[in-house]
């Protein structure tokens, strides 16, 4: 089974803090990490390879420093890593990103593509399903368990709002995965040694047979017109008095916000 896992290098958003004075992000000391869900994608690729043979290739599109994320993937034991790096890719939205990744995946060849549920910086969860559409393969999102794999199909559980949906897809297919799926391994000793020296294959736009109209800023229908740090602090107020008095004051406030009454009657 030939498996391609897509990973994105992201700033660790849980380390991001806000400077309340200037209302900007404090970036100092915020480390770059592999998107957490993508570690589950790599792990599942390795587990499937251990059971069924084949290879695991990890690809990432991004600036040159993404090489460190790919070396980390090598230290986990993947067979090969490919960096998609070209100034022409800058400013890609999810449509252009997925188009570029799809072209590279086609070039590599695949039975199964694994993506994270979503990237913790862009947070869209769109790149996976869009890749599947560019490649005309079925996709299944929010995978929390892989139950069965045959030559032609894969049976999985999807983690949805009220429970788990069991679904089978024909192969080749694309899955996006959630944390529940597995416990990512730690780097191996020998793989870590190899990760230091192994060459990282780098591809640009030219080798990938991409229509320039579909990539980078030009291939991106969405335009970010404004971005801002939201006000986190609220102009809150303490309610005064005994528990009874505070409760009365709160209920009055909720009544004027139409929460008490309105919502109690809604279906």
């Amino acid at each position: 089974m030939n498996i391609v896992a897509c990973i994105k290098q992201v700033p660790d958003t849980s380390e991001v803090k806000i400077d309340r004075e200037t209302n900007t992000l404090i970036r100092e000391g915020v480390p770059s990490i592999i998107n957490p869900f993508d570690l589950n994608a790599i792990e599942e690729g390795l587990l499937l390879k251990e059971r069924f043979g084949g290879s695991v290739t990890v690809i990432s599109m991004g600036p040159p420093q993404v090489e460190s994320a790919l070396r980390e993937a090598l230290s986990l034991g993947v067979d090969r890593v490919v960096l998609l790096c070209d100034r022409a890719f800058a400013g890609s939205d999810t449509l252009a990103t997925s188009c570029t990744l799809a072209a590279a995946i086609r070039e590599i060849g695949f039975d199964l593509i694994l993506c994270g549920k979503q990237a913790i910086d862009g947070d869209t969860a769109q790149v996976g399903p869009e890749i599947a559409e560019w490649l005309d393969v079925p996709h299944l999102t929010y995978i929390s368990a892989v139950e069965e794999v045959s030559d032609r199909s894969i049976t999985v559980s999807r983690l949805l709002e009220g429970g788990y949906e069991r679904v089978r897809a024909s192969l080749p297919a694309l899955l996006t995965v959630v944390k529940e799926l597995n416990e990512p391994r730690l780097p191996g000793y020998r793989a870590s040694l190899r990760a230091k020296t192994e060459p990282v294959t780098t591809w640009g736009a030219a080798g990938l047979n991409l229509d320039p109209a579909n990539i980078g800023m030009k291939g991106s229908p969405t335009k970010v017109t404004r971005s801002f740090v939201p006000e986190l602090g609220r102009q809150g107020q303490f309610l005064a008095g005994s528990p009874e008095e505070q409760a009365a004051a709160l209920i009055a406030a909720l009544r004027s916000a139409r929460i008490v009454h309105g919502s109690a009657k809604e279906s």
Binding site: P11, T13, S14, V16, T24, L25, R27, V30, P63, A90, G91, S98, D121, D123, Q126, P129, E130, E133, W134, P138, L140, T141, Y142, T155, S157, R158, E161, G162, G163, Y164, E165, R166, V167, R168, A169, M217, T222, K223, V224, T225, R226, S227, F228, V229, L232, R234, G236, Q237, L239, P243, E244, Q246, A247, A248, I251, L254, I259, S263, A264, E266
Partner: protein, 389 residues
């Protein structure tokens, strides 16, 4: 990024604002490295308007013959999901602003009176596709059916709930239509100048808000976070049109097969869609006191949430956990009972409209994000609230 060096004061606000570490100062001026992904945080941070995003305000293509605001009518157990009603309220406002019709595209099997029901909730037209193969949602046939309807009727805007279904279907459809899709929006409006849809969404784990437009491609697509907007109200007197769409074997092709659904019975709670959440933390002291939280939630028509500490105590199952490693919620009302307000908890609930914090420690960090703070014993305050409601 484009720099107007004559305006730059060298203040380094952009360096600090950049979430990607892509800006450094060289010779007193900012330099943007390859790590820059044009997110624009620096544009907003710059006090002297010296930075511009390249290529903004692109070709203002004359509004094409695309007309109509459409909503994907996601259903569950024979009912439209709550977020569909929220989208109907938002869609109605957009329709009024732009003088367009509000449509719902509804796929499924034996949907009965649902089209009329959606009209009563604000739709002008319901585009209906019924077929046994559409009874259970699957990405491929739903994508094909919607794509065919869109090619025929050419709506200008297409909205989905940001549910697991919406976030799976919408990107596949957007890629097929070669158009833009904005994820998980919390606000939608019309740009008065261009008439384009202004789509505002949190990114970066809620640390950044971005407003996004899709100026050229059509339809303009967005998924909208459930629970942020008020649902539409029913008006049985409204009239509208039901348009039945044809389907055929080529549209119904699917390479996936749904084998079954397993309810997580302890996890029936649907925090993401709730408009009121009452959460309890370690400050409740014991499992028994959680019944007060349940009672208050029931009185307010809401559901029960929990901090990780409360889950770790075994007072509630994990499905109720709110926060970085639990659910992210944005109800209209969030009441935190005996929760200290650790950043990991705040990450999951600070998008709520009204936050009420009940804690005996007036310095607890939860009060920093609270709209209303109540200092005192959580059990007493909960009892008073329940009594007076």
């Amino acid at each position: 990024m484009k720099l107007y060096s004559d305006r730059c004061a060298g203040c380094e606000a952009c360096v600090n604002a950049c979430p990607y570490n892509a800006v450094t100062m060289q010779g007193g001026l900012p330099v943007f490295s390859d790590a820059c992904n044009l997110c624009g945080a620096c544009v907003e941070a710059c006090p002297s308007e010296a930075i511009e995003r390249p290529g903004n305000g692109g070709p203002a293509v004359e509004a094409s013959p695309h007309r109509g605001i459409w909503i994907f009518g996601e259903t569950k157990d024979g009912q439209p999901t709550r977020v569909v009603l929220e989208l109907l309220a938002v869609g109605r406002r957009l329709a009024e602003k732009t003088g367009q019709d509000l449509g719902v595209v509804l796929a499924g099997d034996r949907l009965g009176t649902m089209p009329q029901n959606l009209i009563a909730f604000g739709a002008d037209r319901v585009f209906l596709v019924e077929h046994p193969d559409l009874a259970v949602f699957r990405d491929e046939p739903y994508t094909a059916v919607l794509a065919a309807a869109i090619k025929q009727y050419r709506p200008s805007i297409l909205l989905f709930g940001a549910t697991t279904t919406g976030r799976s279907l919408a990107p596949r459809l957007a890629a097929r239509l070669r158009t833009g899709l904005t994820a998980d929006c919390t606000a939608l409006d019309i740009d008065p100048e261009s008439g384009n849809l202004l789509q505002t969404r949190p990114a970066f784990g809620g640390n950044i808000m971005a407003t996004i437009m899709c100026p050229v491609n059509r339809p303009q697509m967005a998924t909208m976070r459930p629970g942020v907007q008020k649902p539409a109200t029913r008006d049985g007197g409204r009239t509208g049109e039901v348009i039945r769409l044809e389907t055929g074997p080529s549209l119904l092709l699917a390479r996936t097969e749904v084998l079954g659904f397993i309810n997580r019975n302890e996890e029936m709670v649907n925090l993401e869609e709730a408009s009121v959440i009452v959460s309890g933390g370690r400050g409740l002291g014991c499992a028994e006191n959680f019944s007060l939280v349940r009672e208050l939630a029931a009185l307010l028509g809401g559901v029960v949430g929990a901090s990780r500490a409360a889950v770790e105590e075994g007072w509630l199952p994990y499905a109720h956990q709110v926060g970085q490693t639990g659910k992210t919620v944005s109800p209209r009302l969030y009441i935190a009972c005996g929760i200290s307000g650790a950043v990991q908890h705040l990450a999951g609930m600070q998008g709520s409209d009204i936050i009420v914090a009940i804690n005996r420690n007036p310095d607890a960090p939860i009060f920093k994000v609270a709209s209303y703070g109540m200092v005192g014993d959580v059990v007493q305050i909960l009892k008073s609230l329940i009594e007076q409601l």
